[in-house]
């Protein structure tokens, strides 16, 4: 079962690579023009294109690109001639670090708030949790980012407004620098996860075995924690993984606001320069992360199902 999912994931990743390649292929713009400027002569442009391999047929370019990726070679950036994999690594680590920081704050908080909302269903704590998380998801993330800067960097100068990190920085200094973007991300993903936790548990609460637990004299919180939560794990893990993927893939805006040197910024920089190989590489990395996290969600759902774990 798991092997099947894995194979399917690889197939999807391949399909995505094709889509990315075709997509960047039909984009307007020309990197040679970008490098040489508007005043370049047609001959110079043509020479540069040939040199960069832009005139080869699409299929052979796809094959050499995909072949390189399989060997771990993401190609070289057209604009500065650097190895993409190399310049990407440190930025990918930064992005993953920020995502992990936000996840460590948001996932337990979301599940705890979800449990709390179920325990006090339709009473004021539930309504308060729903209202605040809904408000935070409804506000655009750049707005949340600036509000956080206003409060925690300007009015109460607790954290720096620019999240600049560099190699060799201490762990806690790093956390301090990243506090505001991580907070902004937490607020963005919290509502989705919390509401899904609430809905998944409420769904389970309708089951007959919850009544059994109630008639054993268990307290409400024990019933939710011990009897409802284990049966709601699969949908919760699913939404958590989707949000983790968003934390990695969707952080472009937050990284730009806080000037954080992550993968999102790298991508945006090179999109504006029409540096197709970098855009393709980033797209593929994002897709791989997305597919990988969903694979984890699927496998967790399989593993948490007692019928599959303990066959008859």
């Amino acid at each position: 079962m798991i092997a099947q999912r894995l194979a399917l994931s690889l197939l999807i990743l391949w399909a995505v690579s094709v889509v990315i390649f075709i997509g960047t292929e039909i984009l307007p713009g020309d990197v040679a023009q970008n490098i040489l400027g508007q005043s370049a002569t047609p001959e110079a442009l043509e020479n540069l294109r040939t040199e960069m391999g832009l005139n080869d047929p699409a299929l052979s370019r796809y094959l050499s690109w995909a072949g390189g990726i399989i060997q771990g070679d993401l190609g070289t950036a057209l604009t500065n001639g650097r190895d993409i994999a190399e310049s990407m690594t440190s930025r990918l680590i930064n992005t993953l670090f920020l995502a992990a920081f936000a996840a460590v704050m948001s996932v337990p908080l979301a599940i705890f708030l979800g449990l709390l909302a179920v325990r006090y269903r339709d009473r004021w704590p539930d309504k308060l949790i729903s209202a605040t998380t809904l408000a935070s998801i409804s506000l655009p993330e750049f707005f949340i980012g600036y509000v956080l800067i206003l409060i925690f960097a300007v009015n109460i100068p607790l954290f720096p407004s620019v999240a600049s990190v560099y190699d060799g920085m201490g762990f806690f200094a790093r956390l301090n620098a990243m506090a505001l973007p991580a907070m902004a991300l937490t607020l963005v993903v919290l509502a989705h996860m919390m509401r899904m936790t609430r809905a998944a548990i409420l769904n389970v609460m309708e089951s007959a075995y919850i009544e059994t637990a109630e008639l054993k004299g268990l307290s409400s919180f024990k019933i939710i924690y011990r009897h409802a939560l284990p049966n709601a794990i699969a949908p919760i893990v699913n939404v958590v993984m989707l949000n983790l993927a968003y934390l990695i893939v969707g952080v472009v805006v937050i990284e730009v606001i806080f000037v954080y040197p992550g993968l999102g910024q790298y991508l945006v920089d090179h999109v504006s320069k029409r540096d197709i190989p970098v855009v393709q590489a980033c797209g593929l990395i994002f897709a791989a992360i997305f597919i990988g996290l969903n694979l984890v969600a699927d496998i967790t759902a399989l593993l948490t199902n007692p019928r599959l774990r303990h066959p008859k």
Partner: protein, 534 residues
């Protein structure tokens, strides 16, 4: 109040919260239950018997709440008690056994952890002591490998075993009272008798008091000291089991007692069968569910197919209707073999075989009126429209003994019995020669079911339609069948005219099936179990 009184219920009224005027489910019921005694609560669905049982635990499902009266358990009135107080006695003084143990166990935890949970929660024993007690109870309830069965998950254990594990779960904290809510209703008849005997034995050795809720008077007669008959939330009659079974005072009780006694005079065999199932082997995937089945149905007759769940009787219905093409063999209708697949059959062939289902609820489109539901086959098969169609709908409603103005009602506005009648009318509308009835009375209360059986018999006499009647209930078979086919694990174990099938000499399975049907007399269970053990 004597020292021996465990539960004292006085003028209990239970209503649906927020209704105006207050919708009362239980209307002023009173009774006492002494320590170590078993009280049977009996009635049809909607009688309020489960609601009363739940109130002994201070529990109301959904929006139900106690609007008046007292529930005194061990000297304390718990009718209006708070959750915190109730949590102290639930799972300690009073425990619960539900109808569907399969749904009442948490699929995510091992059985043993669930069985001893309440005992540990209330600090009654150490974990080790609780486990030891659980294993003792598993042994007493006759569960296989009592030492290790607790390490399994609910889905790894059969329905009858789960019901016994749930009984062990209720007994584990040594409660004073157990509420049994239809604990054997969902089980096959041969499983029911084993579970019933196990429960009876466990009650005897632990000397626990019990409220035993069921709709089956024959079952409750085996286990209880006293019986209370309920209807529409009110008490009809109360007395010792002997009084209720042997000397009932009320007409309603008498009707409940006579419900299984209906008989049907067997019709003589005819020359040519209308439907002939010839050497059918069928199944799903690589597994054969049906193995070389041969049987035939005479025109205007009823062939009852009897078997427990998993015997393949519904699969046979799917083969006859063409939903499941057989691997080997075929179905012959009036000398013409029917194409195996439904999609290959002509409209005329489809018309001749109609079907009525167990769950009338889900067999009808809730957004269509009764008139539309019955009218559809009239237009589809006969092209009837307008006034002609209307006239025929009224005729059919008349045939199923419903008022003509029911044509404008929606299924949700009908009772269970009325819904099943509409399904019968829909099948009749096609003027079929054969109707397949798949457990059509299983979901109905006994008296309502009796009405449906009578209607089916009348219709057969008038219209000459033949029934392929699938059921697990042998009492129903006696009331309706001309011939009987007994199925077990996909095989036809016994087949022939009713008189022959129901009389000795029996094969082992039919004998077991027949002796497992609860009889309406005290001591039946003891007699059967004594016979089994010799």
């Amino acid at each position: 109040m004597s020292d021996e009184t465990l539960l004292k219920i006085r003028d209990l009224e239970i209503a649906v919260e927020g209704t105006s005027p207050l919708l009362k489910i239980v209307k002023g019921v009173s009774f006492d239950l002494e320590k170590g005694k078993v009280m049977g609560l009996i009635g049809e669905s909607g009688a309020g018997k489960s609601t009363i049982g739940m109130s002994a635990m201070g529990y109301g499902r959904g929006k139900l709440h106690t609007s008046a009266g007292q529930v005194i358990l061990n000297g304390r009135d718990i009718a209006q008690a708070k959750r915190g107080v109730l949590n102290q006695l639930r799972g300690k003084e009073v425990c619960y056994v539900a109808q569907s143990a399969a749904a009442s166990f948490n699929p995510a935890h091992k059985l043993i952890d669930q069985v001893i949970e309440a005992t540990l929660e209330h600090g009654l024993m150490s974990a080790h002591e609780a486990r030891t007690r659980a294993v003792e109870l598993f042994t007493a309830l006759g569960l296989p490998s009592p030492e290790t069965i607790g390490d399994r998950y609910p889905h790894q254990v059969s329905g009858g075993q789960l019901q016994r594990v749930m009984t062990a779960m209720a007994l584990c904290p040594k409660p004073d009272l157990i509420v049994f809510d239809e604990p054997t209703t969902a089980l096959d008849v041969t499983t029911q008798i084993e579970v019933l005997a196990a429960i009876k034995h466990a009650i005897k050795i632990t000397n626990v008091a019990a409220l035993y809720i069921t709709h089956d008077l024959a079952v409750v007669a085996q286990i209880s000291d006293e019986i209370m008959v309920l209807r529409h939330g009110e008490m009809v009659e109360k007395g010792t089991t002997d009084q209720i079974i042997n000397d009932p005072q009320q007409d309603y009780t008498k009707a409940l007692l006579s419900v299984r006694s209906a008989q049907h005079e067997e019709k003589p065999a005819t020359e040519k069968p209308v439907l002939d199932i010839s050497n059918v082997t069928a199944g799903y995937g690589k597994i054969d569910i049906l193995k070389s089945i041969n049987m035939s149905l005479d025109p205007g007759h009823t062939l009852a197919i009897v078997g427990e769940s998993g015997s393949g009787k519904s699969t046979l219905a799917r083969v006859v209707t063409g939903l499941l093409p057989p691997r080997i063999g075929n179905v012959v209708f009036e000398n013409t073999p029917l194409p195996p697949k439904q999609t290959q059959r002509s409209r005329e062939q489809l018309r001749e075989i109609q079907m009525i289902y167990q769950m009338a609820d889900v067999a009808m489109n809730p957004r269509q009126t009764v008139g539309q539901i019955i009218g559809r086959p009239l237009t589809f098969y006969f092209g009837l429209r307008g006034a002609k169609r209307q006239a025929r709908i009224e005729e059919l409603l008349h045939a199923i003994e419903l008022p003509v103005d029911f044509a404008d009602r929606y299924p949700a506005e009908l009772s269970g019995g009325q819904k099943q009648r509409v399904c019968i009318a829909r099948a009749l509308a096609a003027k079929p020669k054969v109707i397949i009835c798949d457990e059509v009375t299983s979901a109905l209360d006994p008296l309502v079911a009796e009405g449906i059986l009578k209607l089916l018999a009348d219709l057969q006499e008038r219209e000459g339609v033949a029934y392929l009647f699938i059921t697990h209930d042998l009492a129903t078979v006696k009331a309706i069948a001309d011939s009987i086919a007994v199925m077990h694990q996909g095989n036809l174990v016994r087949y022939g005219p009713k008189r022959q099938v129901l009389n000795p000499p029996f094969d082992a399975y039919t004998d077991k099936l027949l002796t497992s049907i609860p009889e309406m007399r005290i001591g039946w269970l003891d007699d059967v179990m004594a016979e089994h053990s010799t």
